[in-house]
């Protein structure tokens, strides 16, 4: 009611919120004073005049008539004095300290074993256990060794660090967050400091970067004094914590929770296989094993297809050194093979670290090799590595030979005219034999107008896949529009490329679409994939891309801004029936750094297959694809349908229905038609349960099917040790540092920022509103009405 009343007097929300600091005043105090002084004799005058003129009127009525007239005059005096309300408010804006509590699955690992007495003593004291002298009692030792990491962090906060954080609340706005896959602000009373039990079993990934970004978002416009991170440091998904910290511009105090002793563990940290091989080929599966606590112990790495052992090899374990081993198997029948790689569980390995002894890989065995043509301008490093990678790929061959067809312009130039003419495909029949054509930094001399015309037809009409990798000499800035029109990007005309002027180097950023796409998918787990891309080395040359072509999809960005947003670095689209992929740098060889073939071969092998011609010799058969073949629950799966009638005409009437069966459900998939490619449509679904999902399309001449396997993500337990080194590195980047659980009180001296005070001053007039007018009218009407009713003059 009061609020309503105040609003009628023009009080704004700010004034109502700080009502205690609102004062009333008048603009013309002299008018008010004189008016009030004059009003006293006038009031007497009115009363005596009424008494003389209206002697027969009862006293009550006479008094009422006098009061209404005096009140009208009083109101007029007040209006003339111009009363107003003034707000004088001073508010304190405390800098924010974000406290991030890691509640991922790995934080449910035991905090111990604390092998060093000194470390145990420090942690015991921090957690509030009493200790006599320098000894920790046996039951305390047992208790701490069994306590899970998340619980230990909260115990320390509720005990030894309680006073410190309560005191910190006087100077800072301390906000507590729980994070794993997402970050949620906890409603913690800073005076009580009582935390809810950590969620069980915890989040399936740790996204430190996302959590930092959440704190930054929540504190927009407020100073961020620092971030205190309680974690085991195993960031395995989401955006890069380094980038998030740079954006937040606040010091990070990384608090490692758990023992510094490495756990005894054998883990398969990476498995890589060529995704497609041909029947009768020998496929290679490269396995990387890391271990601790089993120095020089021989173990067998086993490759299985179901229960059948395909190959096993012995590897001798070395602490902290990754061991690489290659296993092979002969692909005997076509189809999708779901292979398992495992290292036997060692008796000393704790129960919770046994899941990382196994990993899976998919291999598609086809009856025909993909036919690939690779052409480049010079033997640049990308060309050399790519050529060898393709040659080694058992699923790839050439038009006439078992190996891909390779041609480099520097040698082509030295050929006779006849040999030059034969070196490249010159008829549509020859060109459509290829599934994929890869063009490097080739000049228009070699890729002449006739070749480009043919290439355009082969891609648009026959569905031949095309990959164009840019280069500073010719590609694509020196080429005719015919080639540019095929590309999924639009470039700055005539500009050979960009070098990182003003910054040391360029970096890569995986676009949201790139997380799903099979070309840019290094790992099935999206978080792990994103991390892998975020950690790829920087580079020094990029094509001068302006924007994606209409309908194109950007997979990877060079995040420098153009007039149209971030610069696309890897993008694809459909040009007619064929897919075209553009790679805007000639430095993918850098992806070999420290890992060899792992990412370089994955990207190129998958890209060549992603764009490859699907239909035999350009015939138009319907097809249904679901990607990725394997995914963790809760991650989207993309469905692509190409629908043709029996006569090869595209089906555009929406009569084809797509459904997905899995997890005990049968749901339709909403398909969106591609306006640029008749017959093509795409959709998505998100599987939530483990197991196999079958996507089917009905309404076609013959029904189609695609399968997706949903498996649990093992990322959380792949690196089970507390990554103190990584945490220290991260903190060091921001001007923060690594802080032990027992030293939390030392954080305050390094927090940035002081309280800022805001003066809030507002003045509003409180007389020019309808309430005053109504009051005046009511009083006047009362006076006139009473006189009329009583028949007075």
């Amino acid at each position: 009611m009061l609020t309503w009343f105040l609003r009628q007097l023009n009080f704004s929300d700010e004034l109502i919120r700080h009502l205690g600091d609102v004062h009333l005043d008048v603009q013309r105090p002299l008018v008010l004073l004189v008016g009030l002084l004059l009003l006293i004799p006038i009031s007497f005058f009115i009363y005596y005049r009424q008494k003389r003129n209206l002697p027969t009127v009862p006293f009550g009525l006479r008094l009422t008539l006098t009061v209404t007239r005096v009140l009208i005059l009083l109101l007029l005096v007040l209006v003339l004095a111009a009363p107003f309300a003034r707000l004088d408010h001073r508010s304190e804006n405390k800098p924010v300290v974000g406290v991030l509590l890691d509640h991922s699955q790995s934080m449910h690992l035991p905090a111990g074993l604390f092998e060093s007495d000194d470390e145990l003593l420090r942690v015991a004291r921090a957690a509030g256990f009493r200790s006599e002298g320098d000894r920790v009692e046996a039951d305390v030792r047992r208790s701490l060794n069994r306590m899970v990491r998340a619980r230990l962090a909260q115990t320390v906060l509720e005990n030894s660090a309680r006073g410190f954080f309560q005191k910190l609340g006087n100077r800072y706005d301390v906000r507590y967050y729980s994070f794993g896959q997402t970050a949620t602000r906890l409603g913690i009373d800073p005076k009580e400091l009582k935390f809810p039990e950590p969620p069980v079993p915890g989040a399936s990934s740790t996204r430190i970067g996302e959590a930092i970004a959440q704190v930054q978002d929540d504190t927009a416009g407020v100073q961020l004094a620092g971030i205190v991170l309680f974690s085991d440091g195993n960031n395995n998904a989401g955006r890069s914590p380094v980038d998030a910290l740079r954006a937040a511009a606040a010091p990070l105090f990384a608090v490692p929770v758990g023992t510094s002793t490495r756990q005894r563990d054998v883990a398969i940290v990476d498995v890589f296989a060529t995704t497609q091989v041909t029947v009768q080929d020998t496929a290679t599966v490269a396995v990387t094993v890391e271990s601790h606590g089993f120095e020089k112990r021989p173990v067998k790495v086993v490759l299985r297809d179901g229960d059948v052992v395909l190959q096993e090899k012995e590897v001798v374990l070395h602490d902290a050194e990754q061991q690489q081993i290659e296993l092979t198997f002969k692909a005997e029948k076509p189809g999708l093979r779901h292979l398992t790689v495992s290292v036997p569980v060692q008796p000393e390995e704790p129960e919770h670290l046994r899941s990382n002894n196994t990993d899976h890989v998919f291999v598609r065995v086809s009856e025909e090799k993909l036919k690939v043509l690779l052409v480049d301008g010079t033997p640049r490093w990308d060309f050399r590595f790519l050529k060898n990678t393709l040659r080694r790929d058992n699923g790839i061959g050439g038009r006439t030979a078992g190996e891909p067809d390779v041609l480099v312009e520097t040698e082509w130039r030295r050929m006779s005219k006849e040999a030059q003419a034969k070196a490249l495909p010159r008829t549509i029949e020859q060109m459509q034999e290829y599934h994929t054509i890869v063009l490097g930094d080739v000049s228009p001399t070699m890729l002449d107008r006739a070749f480009l015309e043919l290439l355009d037809r082969a891609v648009r009409e026959k569905g031949v896949g095309l990959i164009v990798q840019a280069g500073p000499v010719s590609m694509p800035h020196r080429h005719a529009d015919k080639l540019h029109e095929l590309l999924p990007v639009r470039l700055e005309r005539g500009k050979p490329g960009r070098q990182p002027r003003g910054i040391p180097s360029f970096r890569l950023e995986l676009a949201p679409e790139g997380m799903l796409n099979e070309a840019t998918r290094f790992y099935d787990e999206p978080g792990r994939n994103q991390m892998a891309w975020a950690n790829l080395p920087r580079y020094y040359w990029s094509a001068a891309v302006e924007k994606p072509a209409p309908g194109a999809t950007t997979l990877v960005y060079n995040p420098i801004p153009t007039a149209f947003g971030k610069m696309p670095l890897v993008a694809h689209h459909y040009a007619g029936q064929g897919r075209v992929l553009f790679v805007g740098t000639d430095e993918t060889f850098r992806w070999r750094q420290n890992v060899g073939e792992r990412f370089f071969a994955r990207f190129w092998g998958q890209s060549v297959r992603f764009v490859a011609r699907r239909d035999e010799a350009g015939s138009k058969k319907s097809r249904l694809e679901a990607r990725p073949y394997r995914t963790p629950p809760g991650e989207p799966v993309e469905v692509e349908l190409m629908a043709f009638k029996a006569d090869g005409a595209p089906m555009t009437d929406g009569s084809v229905k797509v459904q997905v069966a899995g997890g005990g459900k049968f749901d339709p998939v909403a398909m969106r038609p591609d306006p640029l490619v008749p017959g093509r449509s795409g959709g998505r679904f998100t599987p939530m349960a483990l197991g196999e999902y079958v996507v089917s399309a009905t309404g076609l001449a013959s029904p189609l099917e695609a399968r997706v396997r949903v498996t649990g993500a093992a990322e959380e337990m792949r690196q089970p040790n507390v990554d103190r080194y990584g945490m220290a590195q991260l903190a060091g980047l921001t001007g923060g540092r690594l802080v032990e659980l027992s030293d939390l009180a030392t954080i305050e001296e390094d927090l940035r920022g002081e309280s800022r005070y805001t003066e809030l001053r507002r003045e509003i007039s409180i007389w020019d509103n309808w309430l005053v007018l109504t009051l005046l009218i009511v009083l006047y009407t009362l006076d006139v009405g009473l006189r009329r009713l009583m028949g007075l003059s």
Binding site: A320, Q323, W381, R384, T410, F589
Partner: protein, 373 residues
């Protein structure tokens, strides 16, 4: 001829010394504190930091002005080539990045380390008809030519300079022209069979050229394979220096790598020799069985890497840790005392040892196309 004799004499002395090694009292192992467990990431960072410092050292030792601008050593292109390869092995390519070309005042381009070095190498190439393409006119014999050709081949393609292409083709042609009737190479640019040590340098360069699509006749490859098979020990592991036999650890490691690069990784002599090297040599600053410490480890780590598996897993950590421990504060490396390479690395310019140590450590980078597995 006299040089050959001198080298053979040196080698014989070294082998004699090596034969006496078992009678030398063993040195007590150094006492070490408890090993701190380190993760793979940390290993990589330590190695990168070490090789970055080494490249800064090499950059500081490059001659920047005058007629020898671009060189590290004006009388031996082997050292210049190794220095170029050290930069390339860390992913530094001509014109780009930290050591790339820069814009000076008035829009002039200031050539970077690799551009300067490339120009120097090309400027030293023989224009004489008989020795056209020879890159060791100033000294260093076919050793230097093989290494310089390898450096040019690795630069070629990343740098569109037509002069570089021409010089590279000429250098490769000289190697092909100089192959002896048996398939080997000698110290001079003539078609005479010499020893395995100098032949290996040509084989690596030839293989790199083939990888860069420069035509290398199959006959030359086949002859080189026959030559290597002729040099292998008929009754056990190893590759001989001048004739068939076990040779030294240096010639054996070089022989293995040559066989691998020539497409013979499954040759039984390869595995046998690697097992033997694994058993008889080690990463040790006192030599560990090698007379030419850097020469040996340059070839050995590549050979073990190419082979992969158990031997690679066992081999690389000790040599890595040894080199990391022995790096000087200025980023350079010394030649281990008592080994045979001291003459190549004087105190004022340790480009030879620093470049080779960098190449050994940069095995983890996987950048040099010539050494792709």
């Amino acid at each position: 001829m006299s040089k050959t004799f001198f080298r053979r004499a040196c080698l014989s002395v070294a082998l004699f010394g090596a034969a006496l090694l078992p009678f030398v009292p063993a040195q007590a192992p150094e006492k070490k504190g408890p090993a701190t467990p380190i993760s793979e990431v940390r290993i990589v960072e330590r190695v990168n930091a070490a090789t970055d410092r080494a490249l800064d050292y090499l950059e500081s030792k490059q001659i920047k002005d005058g007629p020898n601008a671009g060189a590290w050593n004006a009388s031996n292109n082997a050292i210049n080539a190794l220095s170029i390869l050290a930069f390339l092995s860390r992913g530094h390519v001509p014109g780009r990045g930290k050591y790339g070309d820069t814009m000076g005042e008035g829009g002039t381009v200031k050539p970077g380390v690799l551009t300067l070095a490339k120009k120097y190498l090309i400027s030293t190439q023989s224009k004489d008809r008989a020795t056209a393409g020879y890159l060791a006119v100033a000294g260093g014999s076919m050793y230097a030519h093989g290494l310089a050709t390898l450096a040019l081949v690795e630069l070629y393609g990343q740098d569109p300079d037509p002069e570089l292409e021409e010089a590279t083709r000429k250098a490769v042609n000289l190697i092909l022209r100089s192959q002896g009737p048996m398939g080997g190479w000698n110290y001079g640019p003539t078609a005479v069979d010499g020893d395995l040590s100098v032949s290996v340098m040509q084989i690596v360069a030839m293989r790199a050229a083939s990888n860069a699509e420069i035509p290398v006749p199959k006959a030359a490859i086949d002859k080189a394979i026959r030559y290597l098979r002729h040099k292998q020990n008929p009754s056990g592991p190893g590759y001989g220096y001048a004739g068939p036999g076990p040779g030294t650890c240096q010639t054996s490691a070089a022989g293995v790598l040559s066989m691998q690069l020539l497409g013979q990784p499954a040759d039984p002599q390869v595995e046998k020799t690697l097992d033997w090297l694994m058993a008889t040599t080690k990463a040790d600053w006192a030599g560990g069985g090698a007379t030419y410490f850097y020469y040996y480890h340059y070839y050995a780590i590549q050979a073990f890497y190419q082979h992969g598996g158990k031997n690679w897993n066992e081999w690389h950590p000790p040599i890595r840790e040894l080199l990391l421990a022995k790096q000087n504060k200025d980023g350079s490396w010394d030649v281990p005392p008592g080994t045979a390479e001291a003459a190549y690395a004087p105190a004022e310019n340790k480009a030879y040892s620093t470049a080779l140590a960098t190449l050994v450590l940069n095995i983890y980078q996987h950048f040099l196309p010539a050494y792709q597995r």
